[in-house]
Assembly symmetry: D2
Homo-oligomer: 371 residues x 4
């Protein structure tokens, strides 16, 4: 276990990551982190379980694990819950702080000079390209941490975590939803690979950058593939990264962690990093494209009585919840039903019944199909 | 429905209470409020249900209901939850802001001159004393709202709510626990009366002041009884007030609200305010004295896997939860069991698995006995 | 004065904007809003002053003013200050919520179909194009507020404010810095016009979108100009929008508001919207390009003793502040000086001495030149 | 320097106090702590200065110093400021968490058995009583930290800090106001001693318990004196504790820290703990009784333009501030003047112009007289 200092408190105490490495240096590298959002705890229990399990399994490659990847956030209690989604200082969503370092527009901002790299490696073999590219990414991130102007708290975390994943071939970022089913963000080129997780719900995402960790992990390889293509050479897009949503926030279950570990071990097995096939049987994974993943927002303030649970199939017109309007208390018009606009699967609902107008209350996979 | 302005925002918008009154002016007065702590929502659903039910029941007296009794707090969303236990400005716990107005030490602070009152009413009949005393309380609270120095936000709420309850004979303050069973705070002289609520757990509290609303409601009558006694006359302590804990915070269930309303209607029936006896059957209520209501605090930081649920009977030595310590991830010593110190009933547990050292994690009724 | 409801609270109370309109319907439209960030108060005092002043000045056009443009945020007190920079629910920075509605990529998201618009108006006269374009923008924003899925709190505010500015030719968004001098964000094509504000510091920004209100205001006109150009016609970029930074957060000064109003009235005069020239004399405005506007971040945790004040000229190597490190208390090495990397002007410094590693502490205009 | 662990984070990282001790073990003990409220920073700079100064001064006794006495709180940044007055988890005001351990009512709660102590030491000499009593206090606090139910976060801090002061004869708790002058809370029996601080404002407080650290420090000695008196023996009340308010929150000045250190060194000199007399000259200290220390609260929401500064003498009827009401913007009735009710000295004003109805805006010493 290695400690990596990320933050320093006013009191001069430091907050560090603990990073664990399993396996041998030959073969692919898998990077798994959890609790980037400090209220999303289950992944940390799952990493504990994975390390225990991997003690008796041979690993062909390296598995690097960073539980509690954001000590600032997991330590940030507020009332009975965790202030975990965004920095209490800047409001930065901890999973929108990452850097598209190989984007040509970032070249003057300390980013990667992709054109030079490609022209230098136009005829290199692919393994050599991979290795050189990983080293370049690592170096660029290290440089950003040494600015003479200092580095903001968010960026210090971003560069550190991207650095830990710099040499990875596979990245798993373990999160949770609000009150949610297990689900997975699947980059569109990983649709086939994703089946090995047996996640009940799967969101197919385009290869675009939206500042999240999974995207910041795959984008350098997308840019690389594209730039080689422009230069006339086709190289494969072999990199995979997933955001893995392990149920509901603010809670852990060691029992469920065993099941969650099965999914991940099975996927590691499917990739040949370990020899493993889960004995568990899981229902058919369902999927939809990100554009069909719809949020419902409360039409007015009030208190929501939820009528459906995560994982439920919902029909068009079905009542998802009844909103109790406080200016109509004691009358029949106090109850405003929230109806479904389309057939789908409820992936997640709000953690609290307490709604402002515009509070996000339901997240639904429309047009679901088998993964 | 009457609107009572309590707060004015920076934007000049006002935040008001809605107060409903049912019944006729003859007979006793019941005051019921909910959601003083803004995250404790179920009572507001219960008041909605009560008003609907009372439309077809004759009321011998007055039932005054104030749902969402603290609009500042219920509107205060923070992340996916409600910042509801204390003022975000001052930290004042919204149920520790109230005033022991008849305490002799408060006389120079605008409080009630109890000695004068008693000597003036030494030979009055009890009904006349009650009426005069209620009027005096109301007047004193009204005066406090008109200070030439202004009134703090917390005190403005305190005086307003105490004013709404000033003429009451019975007070119900509807709250919830964290993840909790239904339970009741029962002033010791109300032990017999409390049975009609059929609450599974009951905490017997001494007649002392700790700044809470139930206490601020009964203390003037305790002081009155004591002062009359010192003056040589025994008058009855006929006042009752309860803090009613309706399950878990951050959630409403309209279905459960029907059951909760049954409890309250049955109690109103037992008091003769309505003619009603619940057709529901409930298990035997259990009780303990407040000194036997014990909190467990996390011995270190970590993530708690809860092993017992509210309402469970627990034995001495039983594991209540397993704390996953993040500096021991992947080792057997990562799991620290939290064991029960004594036989009891779990009333409530923390809402989140996320623990600092010293986080309150379990609340247990020790030495339970039938109510 | 018109009230525009934006938010509805849990309690069913609504939070509304107050919008004031001065002038006649002929001529250009100016839209001025303040306190989008709820802690940035001075602009609201300035709008008060402007309305008073404009009572005795003839306006050739329309001046629409929205003080306290974000009632959610200005009402959000937290401790002794305002939780004003971002939504306490989502973390959304209130000035990064806006929509680049004419960006071609937004067409499938309800955005403007710019290609159709341009081909329909290829030969229209410019005034007619302006009018039709403003109407189209207004309509698109109105549609977005009527989604069958509801609208998130942030988006509801964004669409409402962009709607209020939809028909504007000039937009001023009044903000403040932390502890800051008066300064201005100047879109590069407005460099000449900006001189009439006489702001001591001016940041020249490229015509790009970064989700802020000033950018969301000018981008439709930038897209329009570009698309016409692609279609072979040159139309002028006549639209102007500025973010106006009026000193320090958390404070108002009615006295300073008179001076701030002079700057704005003088600029309105320079545009011909009013007949006015300020009698005040101001020092020479200085400017730099946005790329030369540099942030310093604390290199470690500690307490900062600030050695320079906003507006100060600073030399390379000058000590900007001394950071007291709490693990070195009582020793000479407790004081870590923070030195300037280059010659410049201090625009702003942190509001608090309390620093984590990575706290933003100084904002400096490097390579300053006369505007 | 000794590190004392107080808190453990979820991440298993600990937050510790640093405690410094200067002097020899013979003679009286002085305990000085700072930044119990995490936003009140100047005291920590002053302790840094004191330690530097005391390196060249001989100390007759022990001076124990705990800068940053509440690492949880000083590290708790929120937006651009410190969430410093109360626990973000429980709302507990960090200076209202302390324990009146010698109060007879606390005997069954693990408190001190004062009657036994007094009867055991009825004829002991005073030095022996002092020593035995200090040891008993220390032991009782140590026991409370070892409860089998765990200890809440607030109580863990309270018992630790009270333990550090358990053997002290003098206690200084360094705080700051909002925007404030230097001022001192003076227990009534220390009025004469307090003069040596030369603080411009002094609040004379009765010997009563209100849960603050200065009170929790002196109350055991008050109880001891009283109980001896009841047992027929007069012992002196030789203990002194002060809350020292060093200007405004959220800021440090190393320059001002030198002046603040002079005040404290001069007082230490007056007590004979060091040989020192300040060469500085200070204006005459003024004082009032706590009952004459008055708070003004905003009569409505709005933005306050402050018209007086801390330290200003104010006359009855003088305008302290003008409140800009946002529903009256652009009209003459928008400005509501806040007038003084009496002659006095402004000790402190709110840190922000942003007011809800009931926000505390001015703190005034009425009936001021020379200390």
């Amino acid at each position: 276990m290695q400690k990596v200092e990320v933050f320093q408190e006013t009191s001069s105490d430091s907050l560090s990551l603990r990073v664990y490495e399993i396996g041998k240096k030959i073969g692919p590298t898998v990077y798994i982190q959890s609790s980037l959002h400090g209220a999303e705890l289950q992944g940390t229990a799952v990493i504990h379980e994975l390390i225990l399990r991997l003690k008796s399994i041979e690993v062909s490659g390296t598995i690097r694990l960073a539980p509690a990847a954001n000590p600032r956030s997991i330590n940030q209690l507020s009332g009975p819950f965790t202030q975990g989604r965004f920095s209490p200082v800047t409001g930065d969503n901890w999973n929108r702080i990452f850097w598209d370092l190989a984007n040509p527009a970032q070249k003057n901002n300390g980013g990667l000079d992709l054109k030079s790299f490609v022209s230098n490696h136009l005829n290199s073999d692919f393994l050599c390209i991979q290795k050189a590219y990983k080293n370049l990414i690592k170096e660029i991130l290290k440089n950003k941490l040494c600015s003479e102007y200092g580095v903001s708290e968010s960026k210090a975390l971003a560069y550190t975590l991207q650095g830990l994943a710099a040499d990875a071939d596979y990245v798993l970022d373990l999160h949770t939803g609000s009150k949610a089913v297990r689900y997975l963000y699947v980059p569109i080129h990983c649709r086939e690979s994703a089946k090995a997780f047996f996640m009940p719900c799967n969101l197919l995402v385009p290869l675009e950058f939206g500042n999240a960790f999974d995207e910041a992990s795959f984008m350098p390889w997308v840019h690389l593939t594209n730039t080689f293509k422009e230069a006339g050479r086709n190289i494969p897009l072999q990199f995979e990264s997933y955001t893995v949503e392990l149920g509901s926030e603010e809670t852990i279950s060691l029992h469920d962690a065993k099941v969650d570990a099965e999914r991940i071990l099975n996927w590691l097995g499917s990739k040949g990093i370990i020899k493993y096939e889960t004995p568990y049987s899981f229902p058919t994974p369902m999927a939809c494209h990100l554009k069909d993943y719809k949020s419902y927002f409360a039409p007015s303030g009030g208190l929501m009585d939820f009528c459906v649970e995560p994982g439920d199939t919902i029909n068009k017109g079905q009542i998802l919840g009844n909103l109790l309007k406080l200016d109509k208390i004691g009358t029949d018009s106090a109850i405003v039903p929230i109806q479904s606009n389309a057939y789908g699967i409820l992936v997640s609902r709000a953690s609290s019944s307490n709604c402002h107008s515009g509070s996000e209350v339901f997240l639904v996979m429309e047009n679901p199909e088998p993964l």
